[in-house]
Symmetry: C2
Subunit: 338 residues, 2 copies
């Protein structure tokens, strides 16, 4: 099949690789209808994470079940499914505790930007729609694979409450979905930290009541002003850098929680401030499957449209341009059609 | 008045110092009936925290109101009161949010091991009993000044749930109160990490179902075994060292929370493990006043007896021996009678 592969920093190609196959009776193979590029794909793209040259890349996709293993009972070829980036059996003690990210049979999508993807623990992982979704809904359905549940996880972990104030640090697609999540969860004041006009627009469409372009101390100062000196009831950290995390903790009011979903790179947590202020940290890699049914239902009934984060659609052959566009912040998030 | 003062590492004296006086109309002066030595007093005692030689030390006490400032309306001379170590107005936005530790008028008791103590924000801070408590209740009432609310805060922050498993790291008086809190909050399996026989006995009296003497990897292994490989539903970190914190995160199951109340010294939080496992951190300096009414009521109706943590009572003149006894782990917690 044709698949996106990574060969070094900023070296993304489309290569012919072996088709994925059923390797365990719990596996399924999905023919990808749409995949996309994740902000976290940019870490290896920029050389910040180690890679094995020639490996496939891409972990978000939706598609049609092509083949299932002998033990898969809930899905059959032809079903349209959303594939969570993190696969789980959804029955182990960790899954039952709501920590599907820690499933004893945890797996990951490794060829979401390709013609086919293998899903481990298909029965536990996949969520099907009733037929193929309308093309207009497809981008939003695709976000349920990762970016929307991840933004949602930031908001839930930060304890966003009805009537409260939520600040979202990071204006990537995850941060924008965090804004949307905060709105759905009833936050009254929602601040998007963003200096990019197109992203500010999406943030406002998603429910941001304030946009703050400043960063660092000036950004913290702006939040203090918006909150009457108190600080935010909930802060969503959707970047993963030390600077973003530090700002998040400075914006958070005593007794609140920072919900973090940006993969931490070089982050040193300010434990003294956390202690003195009683500012907690919660979140991490999203237990995607936990949130999928609820979020997919909201997409299908039109109450949320997270697909607005896609501002560029490219055929698989041009996936390298998709990475470039996101790296250079010319695009928020790129949808890939195999 | 006679007060405990610190002059250098392991140099604790009883000195004649000026009586505390009303400095703001919201102040009260309390004649100390009982004070005590806190585990956190041992940090400066051991030279781990900077001090100003000659400063008074001690932040836990109960006593009788001696004098009140002009603005104090809820208390009058003669009232028996519990003094939280952290004073708050209990009306500011942070207090109303349940983060009394972050009160805009935050203050601290600085002469709890002395004849008199000044309480700032008396109306917000103090909680009175109906008359002087019976002598047999006094030690337990004294714990409401700090150690019991701190252990309680660890348990609440860790999200201890009815029927769940709670592990308490640290067998100081705070850790022991954490065991008691976990029992009151309904944990079914309560593991006290303790290698000291007298502390193990108190832990069992407080509700520990298991005692684990091992530390480090062996301690983590023991918790894995007790929890069938899953890890603990809630971990209370009541020490404040890097080793204790690391162990706590290794014992905690994915999706759970470490509740921390030990003042962090040299702690580097394991952010990658927190991210991958979705193990949160919550807690910090206790919002003592928030919990005081509830905990005091439990003490007065006999449903809890946290005063069992006191295994040595000394007159103020012998306070230095109290520090020595706690430093050498000959005593769990020392009650001081002025």
């Amino acid at each position: 099949m044709r698949a996106t592969t990574i060969h070094g920093p900023r070296d993304i190609r489309v290569s012919e690789v072996p088709d994925p196959t059923i390797q365990a009776p719990t596996d399924a193979i999905v023919k990808v209808v749409a995949g996309c590029v994740c902000g976290s794909d940019l870490w290896p793209y920029r050389g910040e994470n180690p890679i094995t040259p020639g490996d496939t890349i891409g972990h978000e996709c939706v598609g049609i079940v092509e083949e299932v293993g002998a033990a898969v009972t809930s899905f059959k070829p032809g079903d349209f499914v959303v594939v969570p980036f993190d696969h789980c059996d959804n029955t182990c003690p960790h899954c039952r505790f709501g920590a599907q990210n820690g499933c004893v049979n945890l797996g990951f999508t490794v060829s979401g930007q390709a013609e086919y993807a293998r899903v481990t623990q298909a029965d536990g992982s996949l969520v099907a729609t009733d037929g193929v979704p309308d093309a207009s809904l497809l981008p939003s359905v695709l976000t349920i694979s990762d970016v929307m549940p991840t933004g949602w996880h930031a908001a839930v972990s930060a304890g966003v409450r009805r009537g409260g104030t939520a600040v979202v640090v990071g204006d990537g697609a995850v941060g924008l979905c965090g804004v949307l999540a905060a709105r759905v969860l009833g936050a009254e004041t929602i601040v998007a930290m963003s200096r990019h006009e197109p992203r500010q627009q999406i943030a406002r469409a998603f429910g941001a009541t304030h946009v703050v372009a400043e960063r660092g101390d000036a950004g913290v100062e702006a939040i203090k002003e918006i909150t009457g000196g108190v600080g935010a009831d909930a802060v969503l950290e959707c970047v993963g850098t030390d600077e973003a995390m530090r700002s998040a903790f400075q914006m958070a009011r005593p007794g609140s929680t920072v919900g973090f979903v940006g993969v931490p790179h070089g982050v040193e947590l300010p434990v003294r401030r956390m202690f003195q202020g009683n500012i907690g940290l919660a979140g991490g890699m999203a237990p995607t499957r936990k949130y999928m049914p609820e979020l997919l239902a909201m997409v299908l009934d039109g109450s949320i449209e997270p697909g607005l984060v896609f501002d560029l659609t490219l055929p698989l052959d041009e996936v390298a341009e998709g990475y470039r566009a996101m790296d250079e912040r010319r695009a928020v998030k790129v949808l890939i059609e195999p």
